[in-house]
Point group: C2
Chain length 187, copies 2
């Protein structure tokens, strides 16, 4: 056994989510989170850039899955279809509906956290646009297709969270994508 308990980062994440759910984001201090994880405030800030970031550690992995699928789409696939492949892959990763619901309830209750979530989604969008350009898609088509794709994800995620307990995110994504195409092709 080492000098310290293992997995400090994970303990901090769990402690933070528990306390945020229990008493709210604003009413929880970083000192309390660290204390609950058996660490100090200073160590918290060595793992996370700020008090919000602790809720978004999974976004890096999600991004890898997303752009991996976009990059791996058939070479002749249209931009929007490559994006669709990426979204579908994300839908395959996000399977823990109860956890997503708890996390989202915390975020929905706090504007600062909503800002950070928007920033994360924007990062995803930028990464997708970069990947599309790597496939030869020109601007501004790459950015527009990426942004539209992220919009589809947001809508789908929300419907998944608010849907039945046995709902599958991938299905909502499929439906919303069809809606997007219908909407933008109008007129």
């Amino acid at each position: 056994m080492g000098r310290w308990q293992p997995n400090s980062r994970g303990r901090l994440e769990q402690a933070a989510l528990e306390l945020y759910v229990e008493r709210g984001f604003a009413q929880t201090t970083v000192t309390e989170i660290a204390r609950q994880a058996g660490l100090t405030e200073r160590t918290f800030f060595r793992y996370f850039a700020d008090k919000r970031e602790v809720l978004f550690s999974g976004s890096a992995e999600l991004q890898e899955v997303l752009i991996g699928a976009v990059a791996g789409a058939p070479e002749q696939a249209a931009p929007i279809d490559a994006v669709a492949a990426g979204l579908d892959a994300m839908g395959g990763v996000l399977r823990d509906l109860p956890r997503s619901r708890r996390r989202q309830s915390v975020i929905s209750a706090n504007p600062e956290l909503q800002e950070r979530e928007l920033a994360k989604l924007a990062t995803l969008s930028t990464a997708v646009a970069d990947t599309l350009r790597g496939r030869g898609v020109q601007e501004p088509a790459a950015t527009l297709a990426a942004d539209a794709g992220i919009a589809v994800f947001r809508v789908s995620f929300e419907r998944w969270i608010g849907g039945p307990d046995d709902g599958e995110l991938r299905r909502f994504i499929k439906d919303s994508l069809a809606e997007l195409k219908a909407v933008t092709s109008a007129s």
Copy 2:
């Protein structure tokens, strides 16, 4: 003459923009801004919720113009065309290219400000979606059309900022919207 100089809010906004441009957002303290405006830090926080908000006071007005035009679009217009009308109206309001460039240079240099900007754009998107629903558009079409519209605005604004000194935002919006339709109707 009153007990105090008039237009405290405006003086704070101007002082903040000047200092942010001059020495950067992070290197400017609220106390310095207030001092430059002939006020105290406490008064700054009476006018603005936080240090970032002082750069976004115009967004409320912009939102009114946007949703006013969306609501005023011909009754039989498709959702995406109502959104297009709103974007065009915004393009008519944003005419001061040099000022937009200075402001945007500050925002681009600071992640915290980019987060706030994303939040403001998200607010616009939500307002547009609400207005579309008021026109009888169902979900998720309303949200998707609104999000796609905001994506078009972002792309257009960026191209306007980076374009020639005599560029007109409205023209970039027109072009980007056409691109969006082309991209999403593919496959």
